[in-house]
């Protein structure tokens, strides 16, 4: 185990010790585990199963039920395109189409260089700025497709 990985597992163990006696602790533990590792690799699922003394199938079941748990690593920049109704009626599909074209990946995938993950997401609640995308924590609102290449270029540099 690499040193970095060892530190991550230590952090995970602390989380488990802190939460395991709380009722309904599994989801909060998995959420914190994902914060630590960036996603939920099989080894991490096995580790949590062993520590909580539950079958790993329970963990896999929860991980695949909720959209926010990732079983694969994500890109450095996660692009979320809001597909809520307000954004949709104001043309978010065209924005998503343009992103797919510029990044050369379909929604839900990560670019080969590991830089970008493109997600079509549920309402971000910034309907006043529709259509909206988020790149990690940066919000871009009132977008038109022709603004997309410049935004992507900013993160490629």
């Amino acid at each position: 185990m690499s040193l970095e990985n060892k530190e991550k597992y230590e952090a995970l163990q602390n989380v488990i010790d802190e939460l395991k006696n709380e009722p309904g602790a599994l989801m909060p533990i998995m959420q914190r585990a994902q914060d630590i590792f960036g996603y939920l690799p099989e080894d991490v699922q096995n580790y949590i199963a062993k520590e909580l003394d539950i079958p790993v199938s329970d963990i896999y079941g929860v991980a695949t039920f909720y959209a926010q748990f990732n079983l694969e690593p994500k890109g450095k920049y996660i692009i979320s395109v809001c597909m809520g109704t307000a954004c949709y009626v104001k043309g978010s599909q065209l924005v998503l189409d343009k992103l797919e074209e510029v990044l050369e990946i379909p929604a839900g995938r990560t670019t080969a260089d590991g830089l970008f993950t493109l997600n079509a997401t549920r309402c971000l609640g910034a309907c006043g700025l529709a259509p909206v995308i988020m790149v990690n924590d940066d919000v871009y609102g009132r977008l038109t497709p022709d603004q997309i290449p410049a935004i992507i270029e900013k993160y490629r540099r």
Partner: protein
């Protein structure tokens, strides 16, 4: 204590934060310090003001000057001119807040606010949500004190019952009745839950309450705990709302420090504590049984009712679950009396309702109006109508469970029963406006796409039925609709409504049924004439060049990526629609308006 002569209230809601209000706040603080007036002017980051369209917004008191679209570089002028020299910077004010004679209007006279009545949102934009003292200064925790020291548990339930408060999360079940059922359930352990998993696309009122007035929710949940006999509560919040989660956690910590949560509150034998649980992106968790299963840490699948949560809910114990906006009304009902609350609204829908206005409307944002306000007042008087002079086509309410309200129903008085009667529903309060350019078949497809993606898969009618409906709708918008498709959609819709396990499944066909009811001709145009009347469905679009307007400049032909435009210089051009990709580049570039689509 410093004497504060001016307050600068800057909106820190998600809408304005996305428009960079955090940098505006930082710049105010920097400028005030630089000018040496940071001890006499206070900058407050508040919750949502409602008018997201004008964001970032800030209001300077005592004058009540409403500045809109404030940029970082504007801040120095506001500080220099307004806060030092006392001259309001009129060109930066929100245009609707300046009168014709160039004096300023108070906020309640501005068109956007004139017809509103802020009850659930009363503290949003008024107090600093991260400071419990400001909430207390606005009568905060007074209602909890009154309940614990002056009222019996039965009294509390009675007041809520008589007020006529109904659940603001969708179905409109009477809140007091829910509390009474849980009160009547005998158990050592009971729970109070708050549904802050606001999943309806286009609805953000709950988030704004959590961000702008978190203590109101805490206070109401403690009151509910007292009423039904619970000592533990959970707030189940969407993980997509980081600002709301953070403010709620701060608020819980402060309430504990003040002894307003924890053991022996107000010196009585009542104890109550709260925890925040985060959702992980599953729409179905807005359904009450699914939400509780999710708090238990499992796959958030709904289960059949009965038993109802009031009998057997979270961890198998009696539980009440109310929505954020519902809770936000409770402390004021206790303080001001049920008669006050019941005096607002219609016969069967009391109080106010918050709507998130979005889509093709000028004043996007949050509005709170008394029940019974007409849709026309909301869309035109408050919302300012559709932008760019376009014609209003429909308002969609109730999210994926609701329907579209056509222009012919604009004078409907909005309440639970009236909306149901015309095939939509109140829902949590998203109100998305569509104009003549929006295709209603495509909107139905959009919602079904959402439902199929979010169906938990537990029951067959929802898992398989909505998928079949989506397939038919996809064919129709692609120009492959067949005779009989409409009837198939109707049969599937009725079957799903009658047989799906949970409320979300049962209401999933509503967007299709309501658009079929009012816009059947659009479905028929797609299927039989292979035409999209709104000009939105790409596969059905045909671009045309008007030979009388075309000057033969060749610009369109040079733009066309498919090389399907032909014609000689200075002669009218022609589009070969068999090769056209429908990208619209030609139409965008044409300087003579000669190209049209339809």
């Amino acid at each position: 204590m410093d004497l504060i002569r001016s307050h600068v209230m800057v909106c820190g809601g998600t809408g304005c934060t996305s428009s960079n209000s955090a940098a505006v706040i930082a710049e105010f603080e920097k400028q005030l310090t630089a000018k040496g007036i940071d001890k006499e002017v206070k900058v407050v980051r508040t919750g949502c003001f409602g008018l997201c369209e004008a964001g970032p917004v800030c209001i300077v008191y005592p004058e009540g000057s409403f500045y809109a679209h404030v940029k970082v570089e504007d801040v120095e002028r506001i500080v220099e001119e307004h806060l030092i020299k006392g001259r309001i910077v009129k060109d930066l004010l929100y245009k609707g807040a300046v009168k014709e004679d160039n004096t300023i209007k108070s906020l309640d006279k501005v068109d956007f606010y004139k017809k509103q009545k802020r009850v659930a949102l009363r503290n949003c934009g008024v107090i600093d949500p991260e400071n419990i003292d400001e909430y207390i200064a606005f009568d905060g925790y007074q209602a909890l004190g009154k309940c614990l020291t002056e009222m019996t548990r039965e009294d509390v339930i009675d007041v809520i019952l008589k007020s006529g408060l109904r659940g603001r999360g969708g179905a409109g079940f009477p809140t007091g009745l829910k509390w009474k059922f849980a009160y009547n359930s005998q158990s050592e352990k009971k729970y109070v839950c708050c549904n802050a998993d606001e999943g309806d696309p286009g609805a953000f009122m709950d988030r704004s309450v959590l961000e702008g007035d978190p203590h109101a929710v805490i206070e109401a949940m403690a009151i509910a705990g007292y009423a039904i006999g619970a000592d533990q509560g959970y707030i189940y919040c969407r993980a997509e709302y980081p600002i709301a989660v953070k403010r709620m956690q701060i608020a819980i910590k402060q309430a504990r420090e003040y002894g307003l949560l924890g053991k022996n509150i107000f010196g009585t034998d009542f104890s109550f504590d709260l925890d925040v649980r985060l959702g992980a992106g599953a729409f179905v968790c807005g359904e009450e049984t699914a939400l509780m299963t999710s708090i238990e840490g499992k796959r958030g699948e709904p289960r059949p009712r009965p038993p109802f949560p009031a009998v057997k809910g979270l961890f198998g114990q009696p539980t009440i679950l109310n929505n954020v906006e519902t809770y936000a009304n409770v402390p004021q009902i206790i303080n001001k009396g049920w008669e006050w609350f019941a005096s607002m609204g219609t016969e069967k829908s009391k109080g106010t309702k918050v709507f998130a206005l979005g889509g093709k409307i000028n004043n996007t944002g949050l509005v709170e109006v008394p029940m019974g306000t007409t849709l026309r007042e909301v869309i035109y008087d408050i919302g300012g109508g559709c932008p760019n002079g376009k014609k209003f086509k429909a308002a969609q309410t109730g999210g994926p469970s609701g329907g579209c309200i056509p222009a012919s129903e604009l004078d409907i008085e909005i309440d639970y029963d009236n909306l149901l009667a015309i095939g939509s529903m109140m829902g949590s309060g998203g109100m998305i406006v569509m104009d003549e350019d929006n295709c209603m078949v495509d909107i139905a497809r959009f919602f079904l796409d959402f439902t199929v993606d979010e169906s938990c898969g537990k029951c067959a009618p929802c898992r398989i039925g909505t998928k079949r409906m989506l397939e038919i709708l996809e064919r129709i918008v692609e120009g492959k609709g067949e005779d009989g498709d409409i009837e198939k959609l109707e049969t599937l819709a009725e079957t799903i409504k009658a047989t799906a396990l949970c409320g979300l499944g049962q209401t999933a066909p509503n967007p299709v049924l309501s658009t079929l009811k009012y816009y059947r001709h659009e479905y028929e145009a797609h299927i039989y004439e292979k035409r999209c009347p709104a000009g939105q469905c790409k596969a059905l679009l045909n671009y045309k060049i008007d030979p009388d307007k075309c000057k033969g400049c060749t610009l369109c032909a040079r733009q066309c990526p498919a090389n399907c435009i032909s014609g000689k210089v200075r002669e009218p051009h022609v589009i070969d629609n068999s090769k056209c990709l429908k990208c619209g580049a030609c139409m965008e570039k044409c300087k003579f308006g000669a190209i049209s689509k339809g």
